[in-house]
């Protein structure tokens, strides 16, 4: 049975129809499925159906030792793998009371922020691809490859880094990385001006984004949406500032906030955030302390004391929290991953009601979804 909307008798009954958007659809950035009930070009109901890339990360957490779970963390949100690994290792360090050397914390901040930049660049390219502009993707990937070169030299992989270890990082940065990062920051700064001239000030883009897909701060709160979504609704919530973890408290940076709550506000938040990440990277590189990069006393077989603990980080898409429960054994009792895309997507049904389909796709793109991050 298909639902029908009420219409005046003069119109005659116009029926709604049900349309599958996804799992194989270029606008859903992966294998998200949205069950659309359409009234012509207007959305009566858009019900996201996740689960098409559920990969049992939480079950796998209960099947391997604390350290063996590390490669999984980088495959949940593969675009900001560093921040996800950071949350997990920091949670285990908190549970096992391991003190991380300062140099390792600085390296974590530098690599996390580089990763945030590369993640936002992919979003930038893919979002504009959704809106119908292909060229920005080529510029964004050009910049992104420079970051990947740096991280690949350091970690050995391009995307799914497994660089952080429980107690530090797996190898020290070399002079080439430090110099390369400095060069990259210098190269990247002027690019934002180019992006602004090329894309942000474009009339077509503004017409497609301004006033489209409004999400209020209250809606964000009721659905637990975080990251650029809540900051684009005027709430300066960023885990790096609210609950400063690692050494983020030592840096001078701002949290970009735009109160409009529309797609353009979320777009601007991410663009500004990239510039702020550069600021953090610059400060961290300048103040990089000497010392070891691995805690001296990490036991070979880790057995955190029984109990639970949480650790939250600001990933590229919002608040990512790990809740680990230990029963004192070498295998976790439970690893709960609270992922930002899950909560950010859950408000889509309410936010997209009554929108035009093309505008709803702009809204979905501005949420910056990574589908395995929803499904885990």
């Amino acid at each position: 049975m298909m639902p029908q909307t009420e219409r005046s008798a003069a119109d005659g009954p116009q029926e709604t129809f049900v349309l599958n958007l996804g799992p194989q659809h270029p606008a859903t950035h992966g294998v998200l499925r949205v069950k659309l009930t359409m009234d012509g070009e207007y959305i009566t109901r858009a019900e996201p159906v996740p689960g098409y890339i559920h990969r049992m990360h939480e079950k796998m957490g209960e099947n391997r030792t604390w350290a063996q779970f590390l490669p999984n963390t980088s495959r949940i949100d593969y675009l900001s793998a560093m921040t996800y690994t950071h949350a997990y290792v920091a949670a285990v360090e908190r549970a096992a009371r391991i003190e991380v050397p300062l140099r390792a914390e600085y390296i974590r901040v530098i690599t996390s922020e580089l990763n945030r930049l590369s993640s936002h660049l992919v979003w930038f390219g893919a979002f504009l691809l959704d809106l119908g502009g292909f060229t920005p993707l080529l510029y964004a990937f050009d910049d992104r490859e420079k970051i990947l070169d740096l991280l690949e030299g350091l970690t050995g992989s391009r995307l799914t880094y497994c660089y952080y270890r429980i107690g530090g990082v797996c190898n020290d940065v070399d002079e080439a990385f430090v110099q390369g990062t400095r060069d990259f920051v210098a190269q990247m700064r002027p690019r934002f001006g180019m992006y602004r001239d090329l894309v942000t000030d474009n009339v077509i883009l503004r017409k497609r984004l301004e006033g489209i897909g409004p999400i209020s701060a209250e809606l964000c709160r009721r659905y637990g949406a975080t990251g650029p979504v809540i900051r684009g609704a005027g709430v300066p919530y960023d885990v790096r500032k609210v609950e400063p973890y690692s050494v983020y408290g030592q840096f001078d940076f701002e949290i970009p906030v735009f109160p409009e709550g529309d797609c353009m506000a979320r777009y601007r938040v991410r663009m500004e955030e990239m510039a702020q990440s550069l600021r953090i990277i610059e400060q961290a590189i300048d103040r990089l302390p000497a010392g070891p990069v691995m805690a001296p006393s990490v036991p070979r077989v880790l057995k955190p004391p029984p109990g639970d603990c949480c650790f939250a980080v600001e990933a590229a898409r919002g608040r990512f929290a790990v809740r680990i429960v230990s029963d004192g054994k070498e295998i976790p009792y439970r690893v709960k991953l609270r992922t930002p895309s899950f909560s950010n997507l859950s408000l889509f049904e309410e936010a997209s009601r009554g929108m035009l389909l093309p505008d709803a796709l702009a809204l979905m793109g501005s949420l910056d979804l990574v589908i395995p991050d929803i499904d885990r």
Binding site: Q24, P26, V31, K59, N63, L138, F141, R144
Partner: protein, 167 residues
């Protein structure tokens, strides 16, 4: 109806020279299906974007519709909820069609295989035949390009591009 993945799909008339010509044309303008599943999809995007530039080999026209696509690049993990959709998309691609399994998940289930796993299909070749396997987790864009060149070799019977030998 039984799965028919070993059908003889050859055309009514065949001319050796014409077949070669068609194969050459097909091999150098492979249109992949836009079918990003997981991590590997980002590397697939990177292969199509600047620096790696898949269009040098004629395979950059990513089509959203299976009817217009020649090659399905299965880039990522297939789970049991997704398997039916993947099979549907394979069915909807017209002949001649090829499949590249990109990444360890598409090859064998990759890191998501453990005793008692409940969600992952352990390799896309469990669902339909695969022509080229590209290993890696995820494979580098160069590896995907090499996979496409291997597919060209499979279609035309010879390799047009030089093979880079490790020094």
């Amino acid at each position: 109806m039984e799965p028919q993945t070993e059908l003889d799909c050859s055309p009514l008339v065949r001319f050796a020279a014409l077949d070669d010509l068609l194969a050459l044309g097909r091999a150098n303008s492979l249109w992949p299906l836009t079918f990003g599943l997981a991590c590997c999809a980002i590397e697939m995007m990177a292969a199509g974007a600047s620096r790696f530039d898949l269009s040098r080999f004629g395979a950059e026209v990513f089509r959203a519709s299976p009817r217009q696509a020649d090659v399905m690049i299965v880039a990522g993990t297939i789970n049991k909820k997704m398997a039916a959709a993947v099979k549907t998309l394979y069915d909807q691609m017209p002949e001649p069609k090829w499949v590249i399994a990109m990444g360890n998940c598409a090859i064998s289930g990759g890191p998501f295989v453990f005793p008692g796993q409940y969600a992952v299909v352990e390799g896309v070749d469990k669902l339909f035949p695969v022509d080229v396997f590209v290993p890696g987790c995820p494979p580098r864009p160069e590896a995907l390009i090499e996979g496409i060149l291997e597919l060209e070799k499979k279609i035309t019977g010879r390799r047009r591009w030089p093979v880079v030998k490790p020094q």
